[in-house]
Subunit: 438 residues, 2 copies
């Protein structure tokens, strides 16, 4: 039987283990909190507090408006900040590009995932000659809501299907296949290259939402095989990228579509001044910036943007230790172990694995269903210091972030889960009171 | 002749003077910097550094995902923060409502000014039965760019006119009059009630951009006279509201239009999950939240949002000292004095007043034109520690923020302007090198 000391031994042998010190987890550890919700909000990097303080007190406080151009002499943290806020989005975009197998000029950092989806979906709709968008019914709702309104306003049809029905919808009616790489509820992962190839074979465009995969595994938006290259993607800054609550999001387009935009002069609908070809000329007519820069709209929230860079840097710090491949390898080991321990130690206590057992079809999370008890069990776990997520109607969701989640955390979390389940502790009425956000 | 000690005397008698201590200006003052650019980026409130540090280190660092619901026990600064990040936008919106003569439920805080304009302009276009949008050619470009694309995509005509041509365009073809209350270049201010009444008499809808007026003067979007009530408004968080670089923006709609949205089920185009009637039900179909809440799209950038609240609080702090009326009174005194001193001390040195001489037609800024020298003069002033703005092609722009700009600052700024101009110091080639952002 696998023991806690076996977990500790795996931590001792883990090449990524030293990276945990990049995060300010002392007070979390002191409180004996086990955080399995980095797929909702990543933890705070140690560098972030210093960086944000520098932005507020020095760059804003002393540099004032001048810091848009240059923060030279104002930054305590790093020389690379000296180029000024105006370059910040672009610099972070180039870093994110390295995490998703894309070129630096193909990514923009701006706004929210929802708003970036609005932009790239608008582009895909402009490119396509067909009128049907297909997505999964279980896709994260904001993607569906954005698509629903765009489809309605532009004469497209949005068809929502189950995962198993996807193949039959890859046909000559399909304009755009819009999927999230890793499902937020179940943790099921699409084979991005396979699905993209099949959609392309049907003559469709593919948009990937990387919210639950960017930073958690190697992603190759550009594969080296044209037919397997994705078309558009969006992703989130505050999950595996550790960018902080509501961090700005990113958007990506394939170079062939960027070339199309440049050739046709296509403008995205949110044609704000910072996406203009010459924003500081203050001309009355809009002229889109070349390339992906047109996907920028208004002035970015600099404090949140600076925090995002610190988060992205934590993932890049893994590059010297095997990078995203090593992160993925540990992610599989963590999730495998979690499944194995839950199924052995909590057998017969009402949990049913929802996430694919096949690690190759799984993101960096594990979800179990529990009929009737899921919400209360998550609350009872939180009371015992294990932070996971409830997802309606019956899902307990646990995220594993290899940069800071340890094998002993997995062991301890399952231990506490067993405590919560074995004598029905979760049945206490106090665990059934609903909070606004779960 | 008005002297520096006369300025000092006016500061001593200024009821708003004590509010300057709300801002962290020690290092700015030590460097003898005179900051006349609060209309581009307000200075940092003293409370912001503590608040943002609390958000990063405690609420995010220790509270983690739980802080969306509650930050109780995590906030060093104020008890009102204990309700959690999910309420933050709404709480700030209610505060901004007090500054613009609106009801708390009529304002949302989200995204950027450009994106909020996209939302409210979409609403106005949905309401109107006519197809012409009129704006000023000299309006801030992002407003024009957003309108240009929306008009193009929805079969509207965007007509750009000069200020003097506005009256003739208030006719039965006009769907929407879209204006910025105070012009970013010239500082010219519209009479909001008069213009709104005239547009309403023509059967049109009026959208006001309050970027250069919110926080600088009393604004009454709801006047008590239905025909003078505005229809929609947007505004900026980082100018006179002191919210920090790229702070989230706000949007407002009149209760009659909110009632129309609720009655018709109208959805804004950026129909993201946080504007859903029940976001945490995670249903696949979009149903807009009641009222203005539908104007929210994705997850807000919490760090930047928290800083915005500290900024808004600095303006609210004036309520005990005469509020926005006192702010406006001092603003007029500061700008009057600046004009008077420049015109007397710098007479014959090539400056020409661009801002209206009539204080009633002027915002809280003063612009002068200088043929050929404007850019270099602004740079030479910056080298002497007076920070203003250049606006193409020939404008020197100076902003006055009564919460922290002193009468001695006005005197010293003009003194240095005179130094820069009198012997042609600005002609030094080093002042002609263009930076990315001016």
């Amino acid at each position: 039987m696998f023991s806690r000391s076996d977990s500790a031994a795996r931590d001792a042998a883990d090449p990524l283990a030293p990276l945990r010190s990049l995060f300010a987890l002392e007070r979390v550890d002191e409180a004996a909190v086990i955080y399995l919700d980095g797929n909702s909000l990543g933890v705070v990097p140690r560098a972030t507090a210093v960086r944000v303080r520098t932005v507020v007190e020095d760059e804003w406080g002393v540099g004032l408006i001048r810091s848009w151009n240059s923060t030279a002499g104002l930054s305590r943290a790093r020389s690379s900040e000296s180029r000024g806020w105006i370059d910040l989005s672009q610099r972070i975009a180039a870093k994110i590009a390295r995490l998703i197998g894309a070129g630096a000029g193909e990514v923009v950092v701006a706004d929210s995932t929802s708003i970036n989806l609005y932009k790239v979906l608008s582009a895909a709709m402009a490119i396509s000659t067909r009128k049907r968008i297909v997505s999964e019914r279980t896709n994260f709702p904001t993607d569906l809501y954005i698509a629903e309104t765009l489809a309605r306003d532009h004469g497209f049809e949005l068809v929502l299907v189950d995962h198993s029905e996807l193949p039959e919808h890859l046909n000559d009616q399909l304009a755009i296949l819009m999927l999230t790489h890793v499902n937020y509820r179940t943790g099921r992962m699409h084979d991005m290259a396979d699905v993209t190839r099949a959609a392309h074979d049907a003559g469709a465009i593919v948009i990937w939402d990387l919210a639950h995969s960017a930073g958690a595994m190697p992603i190759r938006l550009v594969t080296g095989d044209t037919n397997e290259d994705a078309d558009f993607a969006v992703g989130c800054g505050y999950k595996y990228l550790n960018g902080g609550p509501g961090a700005p999001a990113f958007a990506w387009a394939h170079p062939r579509h960027i070339a199309w935009m440049d050739r046709t002069g296509w403008r995205q609908p949110l044609s704000g001044w910072l996406g203009h070809a010459a924003p500081f000329d203050f001309t009355p007519n809009y002229r889109p910036a070349a390339g992906m820069a047109r996907f920028v709209c208004g002035t970015p929230p600099v404090l949140s943007l600076a925090a995002l860079e610190c988060g992205v840097d934590t993932v890049l710090a893994a590059e010297a230790r095997g990078g995203l491949a090593a992160i993925r390898q540990k992610s599989v080991a963590l999730t495998d172990l979690f499944i194995e321990l839950v199924e052995s130690r909590c057998a017969g206590l009402g949990l049913e694995l929802v996430t694919p057992r096949d690690a190759g079809a799984r993101g960096s999370q594990v979800s179990f269903a529990h009929a009737g008890g899921a919400y209360a069990i998550v609350q009872a776990l939180i009371a015992r210091g294990v932070i996971g997520d409830f997802r309606a109607p019956d899902i307990l969701r646990f995220g594993f972030t290899p940069l800071y989640t340890r094998f002993v955390d997995v062991w301890d979390a399952v231990d506490r889960l067993h405590e919560v389940l074995k004598d029905g502790e979760w049945g206490d009425p106090r665990f059934s009171v609903r909070a606004a956000v779960t």
